[in-house]
């Protein structure tokens, strides 16, 4: 068996008496399109926070390409190639769309510590940021402040910032949440257009999105892996339907 891009072994995280993650064994292969689903409170966002180093696990290990990164801090994991988007937009609201992406690109290429050179004269960073905005069809909004944009467009900036980090592993926490259905196709197209070689883990409640996108699905219930399989297997699993899919189609 090949070494997976990202792997967790018996990953646990307790918040007081609550076990938000219980013995999670998980594998994300290179180039994977993997979805993580589960009812509210199943621990999906906690799992992303564990993978990105926002919270430390109570026990267990996280490995990237076989290397143990459990003790590596958040910023270092980004440098290793793990990027994420947030369930709720976390953007630089009073800065322009271009500046938002600029910050991410500048950080990746190591331009950010530079103190005595005007930011706009880093042509490489500006060009790459603008190019990224073009691929997400945000060019027309490049000068606008985030606070002036509709929520759906903001979600795209959220994605643009993550892509500006040129990740090998991209964790998308409900990328289409809060986006009007008329605009959600832009997000979906953007996800479809991601470079093939990066491993993508998507968390979502939207089953249409999940089944369209994913080659593999992991179902999380009460902090533990309930089932893992192809979309066909998961869709046919009676237990999964009972705990999750049935509810979702009604709600």
């Amino acid at each position: 068996m090949t070494t997976p891009l990202l792997e967790t072994r018996a990953l646990c995280r307790n918040f007081g008496a609550l076990a938000a993650a219980r013995d999670i064994d998980f594998r994300l292969e290179a180039g994977a399109r993997h979805a993580l689903i589960g009812p509210n409170g199943a621990g999906k966002t906690t799992f992303v926070n564990l993978l990105t180093g926002v919270v430390a696990p109570t026990s267990g290990a996280i490995l990237m390409r076989g290397r143990d990164i459990t003790g590596v801090d958040q910023a270092q994991r980004v440098k290793l190639g793990i990027a994420r988007t947030f369930q709720i937009n976390r953007l630089f609201r009073r800065l322009s769309v271009l500046e938002n992406v600029y910050i991410a690109v500048a950080e990746r290429v190591g331009a950010a510590p530079s103190m005595f050179q005007p930011a706009g004269t880093r042509r490489d960073v500006v060009e790459e940021s603008m190019h990224l905005l073009e691929t997400l069809k945000l060019t027309a909004d490049a000068s606008r402040r985030i606070s002036e944009l509709p929520y759906g467009r903001q979600r795209l900036v959220e994605l643009a910032i993550a892509l500006g980090l040129k990740p090998e592993i991209l964790l998308l926490d409900e990328p289409a949440a809060g986006v009007p259905s008329a605009e959600s196709h832009i997000i979906l197209d953007a996800i479809d257009g991601l470079p093939r070689d990066i491993g993508v883990l998507i968390i979502d409640h939207d089953m249409d999105l999940v089944f369209r996108f994913a080659q593999r699905i992991t179902v999380l219930v009460s902090g533990a892996v309930f089932a893992t399989g192809t979309p066909r297997e998961i869709g046919a699993d009676a237990n999964v339907r009972a705990v999750y899919l049935g509810q979702a189609s009604h709600g």
Binding site: V54, F86, R93, L95, I103, A112, P118, A119, E127, T139
Partner: protein
Amino acid sequence: MTRSAVSWADHPAAVALAGRHRLRAWEPIPWLLALAFYFVFPKYLGFGTELLITILFALSLDLVLGYAGIVTLGQAAFFGAGAYTVGMLAKRGIWNEPITGLILAAAVAAIVGLGSGLVLLRTGGLTLLMLTLCTMALLEEAANLAHDYTGGFDGLDSLQITPVLGMFEFNPLYPKTQYLYALSVLFVCFVFVRTLVYSPFGQSLTGIRENSLRMHAVGAPVRRRLVLCYALSAAIAGVAGGVWAQANAYVNLGTLGLDRAATVLIILVLGGYGRLYGAFVGAIAYVALSHFLSKIYPTAWQLGLGLLLVVIALFARNGILGIIEAAARRLRPPRATS
């Protein structure tokens, strides 16, 4: 990915970003006014020097508060560190040269900033506010207790400062040298801060101010950046304190006090923080207001100032410059992209 034929340099957003550090047409005006003041009001140069030093001090606060979003109530700790560095060295006859004296003041203040920042900037919000206040109070008390070195409550007076560049003497009665000296120092520090805030480093500071969580998620060493910014700001505050000690030829505990720290915060809020020139506008407005209000209401003029601050906090969060910017935006014909 290598579809690189297209250049985005002409896009309005890229043009705006590439040009935002360029000198604006109005920017020489405050400096010309400051020079004109020297010739028009030769009798008020002592007052003018004090104002310039206040602007420099407010500028140091703008870097941490306005750009990096670090809420501090203890900025006078660094002003005092710089002032006492100059004062103690001059009093003992160890170092009396003004310009190198300022470099020493900056270095000492930066070290205090670095040391306290490494500890304090692990916290945020109200905790940080209280801790910055405590740090300043501790320094003030230390200066009070170390009587043999600092002169304690009486401070150190009759400091001997050698002429600037060996030519221009500090004359306490006719502070012409002091004024031009303070103006030159302010200019140099301003150019430094201005360069800094328009750099990628400055951009990352605004990123931390706007959303530190996201900055962590793009791989930025957030705390290291904050501590660095804090130390740089401390150095500038230290320079302001050093100039103050040199210009007045004395140091006292007031350089380390809450009064000074609170006043400079008021000035920045009044003028508009995160705007470079907010320090200028705020300092002038503060001095003018105190003068005007204390004339019409000598016993309780600070009440008027307090009420004005409440109004600013409620209705004009961006201070006087914010009001001017909003007015200018309205007067200008709307552009295609705002």
